[in-house]
Subunit: 258 residues, 2 copies
């Protein structure tokens, strides 16, 4: 299975241009699964909830429809972030589209900095979908900080963690590597690049295998990386003849307190 | 508070020489707390349970008494690993001694490789003690792999994680850095050096602050490093005006599955 990331510079507020760029980058590359950054069709550095709502759309809206078209034309699956309007709420949501439409979504569980003012806290439970034989789990950016979140996904049998992100600090990749290692699961962590309203985003997107080895790494400019993997090797949690990452857990010692 | 590690080459089976070395290294340095490697009074690469038992001692035995003497003469606290004989069981145990005696112990919760054959699985719950105003939590080596373990210690208010280790793989430091970051807790992770029965130990011991910054790092030879810190800053879990590492946890989303 070919899995990849698309790390690019969204133009703030210019959905048309951003969607055109995504269309071009997906067309010019070949993968079964592409992961894109958080809020990559709108840009991220909103100044107010009002401005955020002006850019947000429902899952039934034209942005998601455009991305379904891209997935259909290229016979692929695309995970991307957008501000999701849902009644009077707005979530930072990872949306998954394939040639048939929307197959999953995850609303960011853990909001960071001023997102706590502008966004609503996600209401979706840790979210999993299946695609071409792989079980894929979703997270958005600062969700990386909470091992509980990824453990739930790991214990439910996820093969690949996908984190669609806009990192303003340097912790994200180190923590997603740890999530891969402790759960024995591949991960794709995608950070945008470019400067937006004074905030620099440094790229460095990563694809990591189920032992924590880095299979592909972005630089600090626009780039696309694709690697071929067998994600189902994640299902074997044995590290050696004696150790199994999940069976070795000592629930008897710590579960009651957790 | 001055916290440090002592990274050295134990001689296999030579308790007398190992204890003499510890005595010298503690005397020649100055700290409130020294962390030493796993099984550092006996060496680690045992070939059988029988050999292990021949080197093991109870907490009331002469090795622990010698280390209490060292702690008393230097008015300090020492955390070190030894094979603990307890009835017909043997544990890989982190023992804590101060001038008054043994103040805590933790039996390795998660055994690695052939330890599963030679040792008994630890029976102590995640263990905490207080020393000179700091709350300190204990782990042994491969315990690093399990975020649940350290989360229990973090949620109970630990300021410093201490991991007494003999690393045969390279994951330990990366994972202990992640444990520091996700819990906002200092950590001291001590690996031995030297080659024993064909197994190389690479040192690289680390003291990490409550944001994951490396304050001291060992090389691959014998060394002692001490840094002065205020461990109680760990008690503030706020990362910024909006985020708090513990309050941000979305127990509502994942606890039932964990």
């Amino acid at each position: 299975m070919k899995i990849g990331f698309i790390q690019f510079v969204p133009k703030f507020g210019n959905k048309k241009e951003n969607i055109a760029k995504i269309k071009k980058l997906v067309k010019n590359n070949n993968a079964d699964l592409f992961v894109l950054p958080e809020m990559c069709t709108t840009g991220y550095m909103v100044a107010s909830r009002k401005e955020l709502i002006s850019m947000a759309e429902s899952i039934d809206g034209p942005t998601v429809q455009s991305l379904i078209d891209v997935a259909r034309k290229n016979n692929t699956c695309i995970i991307f972030g957008l501000p999701e309007l849902f009644g009077d709420k707005v979530f930072s949501t990872a949306v998954v589209v394939d040639p048939d439409g929307v197959i999953a979504k995850h609303q960011k569980s853990h909001l960071f900095l001023k997102e706590k003012i502008f966004f609503n806290q996600g209401e979706t439970k840790p979210t999993i979908f299946e695609w071409r034989g792989a079980k894929i789990g979703l997270g958005v950016c600062y969700d990386y900080m909470f091992p509980e979140y990824w453990r739930v996904l790991g214990l439910r049998g996820v093969d690949i963690f996908c984190n669609t992100a806009n990192f303003v600090f340097d912790y994200g990749f180190k923590m997603m590597q740890a999530r891969s290692i402790e759960n024995g699961v591949f991960s794709i962590t995608v950070n945008r690049v470019g400067v937006e309203r004074g905030q620099k985003f440094k790229g460095g997107s990563e694809i990591v295998d189920n032992k924590g080895n880095i299979l592909a790494k972005g630089n600090d400019t626009e780039c696309v990386k694709v690697v071929e993997v067998d994600p189902t090797i994640s299902r074997n949690k044995k590290w050696n003849e004696y150790n199994d990452l999940f069976k070795d857990r000592r629930i008897d010692l710590y579960k009651e307190d957790y």
